[in-house]
Symmetry: C2
Subunit: 100 residues, 2 copies
Amino acid sequence: MSSVFKALADPTRRHVLELLREGPMTAGKLAEHFEVSKATMSAHFAVLREAGLIASEKDGKSVVYELQMSVLEEALLGFARTFGWKLEEREPSKRRHSRV
Amino acid sequence: MSSVFKALADPTRRHVLELLREGPMTAGKLAEHFEVSKATMSAHFAVLREAGLIASEKDGKSVVYELQMSVLEEALLGFARTFGWKLEEREPSKRRHSRV
DNA sequence: ACAACAATTTGATAATTGGCTAAATATCGA
DNA sequence: TCGATATTTAGCCAATTATCAAATTGTTGT
């Protein structure tokens, strides 16, 4: 859980997660959204992957990253619960990437 | 918002917030719950205060810290919303420290 | 086999962090 | 005022982090 919060502490990494909310994306495409070098982005991806927040899958020359919603939800949920809140779906119907 | 996540990234600081959930507490009382030195705890309090997560008030020799729930809620809420969640009260009735 | 491409790893550096002890500040009671 | 108590500040160190350029790995097309 601490590794998740550590990962979330960086704005670049939070932005990566937001981009992945729309669906899986390659490392290169993700990196295009930021000013820093590819090497730096690769390091950020590693932090997110080690926290379990994203999963990687090789596809030819590219590496495709996918958001692991459940891990993010678990961490946030666990913390929110401590403070007397619970997390609820905002729009239960609107779900892209059904990926059954 | 980034300062809040930065503050939450440290387990000691998250624990401080949890302790303050029960009500305001002095720096000394808070520090008793941890193994590190008072000076180190003071630094943690400073990070939390600069993030707006706690407010300090001097009371004689002591400094009393109080959790700023609204700031925590806003940060968490803002982030959760991005990912299609919302925050809800878990137990609306159970409220200590009414402090009207 | 080779060149081009995508991504990561390596090696370096500067900045930040979390921790400590010791010193400083502020307040209270005698 | 003096001494005790509560907390913060200052100075320091070790470990970690974010960043880059360069080298490396793996894959594809010719």
